[in-house]
Symmetry: C2
Subunit: 299 residues, 2 copies
């Protein structure tokens, strides 16, 4: 249905899709809405590409918890002779990728990851705290037939770096704003405590801790997958975990708390199609008005 | 200068940058301008993520010509025991990436690459020809201190698929439009025949062919690098090369010609800063008016 309506363009790899104009209009509107809703944040606007230095990534500890989701970029570093060998390997139907070596780059797993090392490089964090606005493709290696589980998807995130009370207030504000967005999009929703799919046995212990401390909340809605609810927005308290990982410090050498809220652009758009169909004529009036007012006539 | 003004945010890897708000405003304006200038194209709007299936990529022959620029995505496919080994390797300061295996994904080297397999999958190409609009991050493995040579950069492309005359007409139209854009941006420019940095000895022969047939033109301007001119827009005739590589056919089984024009969003924005400085107050009036009219008050 999504493919035949030109909403998603499947590729030969599961979980890797192109997008048509209507899908993109909804996704862009969500991103625009986040900017408008958060205008009083005084956020610093930053944009990072979907790759980050492997060194910063190692600092994050991500591959300790989610090794199965990580993507590293490998490259060819050889000379002309190596290249002839590579081409011979390929032309004989062999595995030319074995001649690739790990580079110093990895795929960004969440839009906020490049923020922490960039801010740490500036020196001490301001006592008053600061909010950052980022939006990026993210990579997670989980090939799936469920279009809500894409290997390459976009998150529009706001990130708070400051004190513990500020982090909680930031998150509470954005939970309210996200509920407004879900209402405007005409989606039934709940905001619920959530857990990340940590890897292995140690991971299962971490899930328990995360739920008990309510560090992660998600806005969920029924969407596409018959299996239940899909998380479209997540609201995360990191305590001082990110500060420790990336060396963020206040002037007095103590460590700030951080928090982030991430809007899944593809998931929110897909939820709109799931609930209202692919014919804009049948969409809620307020949603159509908002889309038109942002980007002009709908296709 | 670009870093201290918050235009680019350097990382610990050469050629990998974040971007500040003013840089992004100019880049987004260029992308918007391409859409407006090309509105009469009746282009089909498509968006693809910056990864593509390795199989399609192999069809393209790109790694035969530019093996040194390719990035492949590798992943961890092991179980809990492998993961413990991986973590022990990392914690001992070893190379944990050797436990990554090649996935079925590669980095997109040019924004138009995913278009050809997607269109081929639809069946025969319409005799009248068709134009597509794409915009994506592209990856090229060429670490450099020159900010015009980023490893991850964005191209806004228009792609023509149809007959040889249509391909030439499409390119001529976009050369004219790109000249208009360069004038609006206040950039001195030339449109010149160009060549790609093919790899190795066979590559050097291909360069000669490309120049003799004027298959590739570039709009160049002095920018940042003292070494000379920087290509900011490229205009390419592929003859039937892409059709052959990706299996594009007309109804009668003959192969279409293709052409593409690619606007380098980062390079065009950097050229603006190079020629006009980082203080918007000193920029050409027409440019400021156009930026404000598109995106509101400038920072």
């Amino acid at each position: 249905m999504l493919a035949s309506a030109g909403i998603l363009i499947p590729s030969t790899v599961a979980g890797l899709y192109g997008r048509g104009v209507l899908m993109e209009r909804v996704a862009e509107f969500v991103s625009h809405w986040v900017n408008e809703a958060g205008v009083s944040d005084g956020a610093e606007f930053l944009r990072f590409p979907p790759l980050m230095p492997r060194r910063s990534f190692e600092d994050s500890g991500y591959f300790r918890n989610f090794p199965n989701l990580v993507g590293t970029v490998h490259c060819f570093c050889g000379d002309e002779e190596d290249h002839r060998l590579l081409m011979r390997t390929h032309d004989a139907g062999g595995d030319w990728t074995s001649q690739q070596s790990a580079s110093d780059l990895v795929m960004v797993p969440a839009a906020c990851y490049p923020v922490y090392p960039a801010v740490a490089a500036r020196g001490p964090v301001a006592a008053a705290g600061q909010i950052f606005d980022v939006c990026s493709y993210c990579f997670r290696r989980e090939p799936s037939q469920d279009p809500n589980r894409q290997q390459m998807f976009r998150q529009h995130e706001r990130v708070y770096i400051g004190n513990p009370e500020g982090a909680r207030a930031f998150r509470a504000t954005w939970v309210d704003r996200a509920k407004e967005l879900a209402s405007l999009l005409g989606l039934p929703f709940q905001v619920v405590p959530a857990n990340d799919p940590f890897f292995g046995r140690t991971g299962r212990i971490m899930i328990r801790g995360q739920i008990e401390q309510a560090l992660k909340l998600e806005l969920v809605t029924p969407s596409v997958a018959e299996s239940g609810e899909t998380a479209c927005v997540s609201f995360n308290l990191h305590l001082d975990k990110m500060a420790q990982a990336f060396g963020l410090e206040f002037e007095d050498r103590t460590q700030p708390h951080t928090a982030c809220v991430g809007f899944g652009l593809e998931r929110l758009a897909l939820a709109v199609f799931w609930h209202h169909g692919t014919d804009v004529g049948g969409w809620p009036r307020a949603l159509v008005d908002a889309l038109v007012s942002h980007g002009g006539r709908l296709p």
